[in-house]
Subunit: 200 residues, 2 copies
């Protein structure tokens, strides 16, 4: 869309946009999604409510964009799993890092808020899958294909199912707080998934 804005106005817009997304992300971590309001985001960002509503239709939409901005490589660039040639070691490295992220309130609070939204909003769930989940899953599958070529994983393994068996138990323990989320659990999941899909 062509813009009639002067360069100064464009710079001001971009500054406001960044301030709003930063405020949304900070406030989610501080007060949680339920208590987050457009008013509070506007006050923290130093803009009027109207400025927010000009760009976003709802609280959920701002929050989603604030998390998308946070997620490096949401455009599919720059995501790659380690490939040392040892799939077991590499997956354990990656899963332990995920466990560490979930232990960090600054990281986990906004993601928990996002999950709450996604669970109750099928449309947001579809956007999330396309924009955030799919690029990351493709990067993970790229690493799994390399393991298949190396004969460390069954050639006919269903890679989507593999990723669900590997990650869903971790996500569930985190979401429902149903058990310890630690390195031992991360390692046990990797071992179980590799046993389930090992070459015959």
């Amino acid at each position: 869309m062509a813009s009639r804005k002067t360069p100064d106005a464009t710079r001001r817009s971009e500054r406001s946009r960044v301030a709003i997304l930063t405020a949304a992300r900070e406030l989610i971590a501080e007060v949680g999604y339920a208590k987050l309001s457009i008013e509070a985001i506007a006050a923290r960002a130093g803009v009027g409510k109207q400025t927010i509503y000009r760009w976003w239709s709802s609280k959920g939409a701002v929050v989603f964009d604030s998390l998308l901005a946070l997620s490096e490589g949401a455009d599919g660039e720059g995501i790659a799993l380690p490939d040392t040639g040892d799939i077991e070691a590499d997956l354990k490295t990656v899963l332990r890092a995920t466990v560490a992220e979930f232990a960090d309130p600054e990281f986990e609070a906004p993601i928990r808020a996002l999950n709450t939204e996604i669970i109750n909003d099928a449309e947001l769930a579809a956007i999330y899958r396309e924009k955030m989940a799919a690029p990351v899953e493709e990067a993970k599958k790229e690493r799994l294909r390399s393991a298949q070529r190396a004969g460390q994983l069954a050639a006919d393994a269903d890679l989507d199912l593999f990723l669900e068996v590997l990650y869903a138990p971790l996500a569930q323990r985190w979401l429902l707080r149903s058990g310890p989320l630690d390195d031992a659990f991360a390692d046990a999941l990797v071992d179980a998934a590799l046993r389930a899909f090992r070459p015959e």
Copy 2:
């Protein structure tokens, strides 16, 4: 706690309680948790708001009790998995039934609402685990122990991990609507879990 109520008053109380829990369950399925109000529950149940607040501290507490009342065998009685001697066939029967339940809006809407609450409320999560999840998990583990005795499952298999590998991917597809929830997926999960924990 001793009650000074007359038998008639006790019967009226019990009738109100049942009406409130039924109304809460119906309304969750109809309007979802976010739009559910104590006012609406009171109106549907034909009681005053005060009556609800006398027994429950919050919307979440009423909803939780309404689902607890729904869950047959939440006290641990009457839950048992089929045991035909064939663990693969029995688990496929059970997982296909779970998939069918998730396809039923009347069943899945309140459980989705409950999950949303649990994700954002660590205290409710602990109550849920103790009152609803633990008895059901124990019944499942009973069936797995029988499979271990029959040599169909590794004797040293971590049964908690087995259940998470089996059920978390199913719960995740349902919650995030991230893929088809059908018999083929149920069967593939059973096959993967059994491969991961088969006897050496």
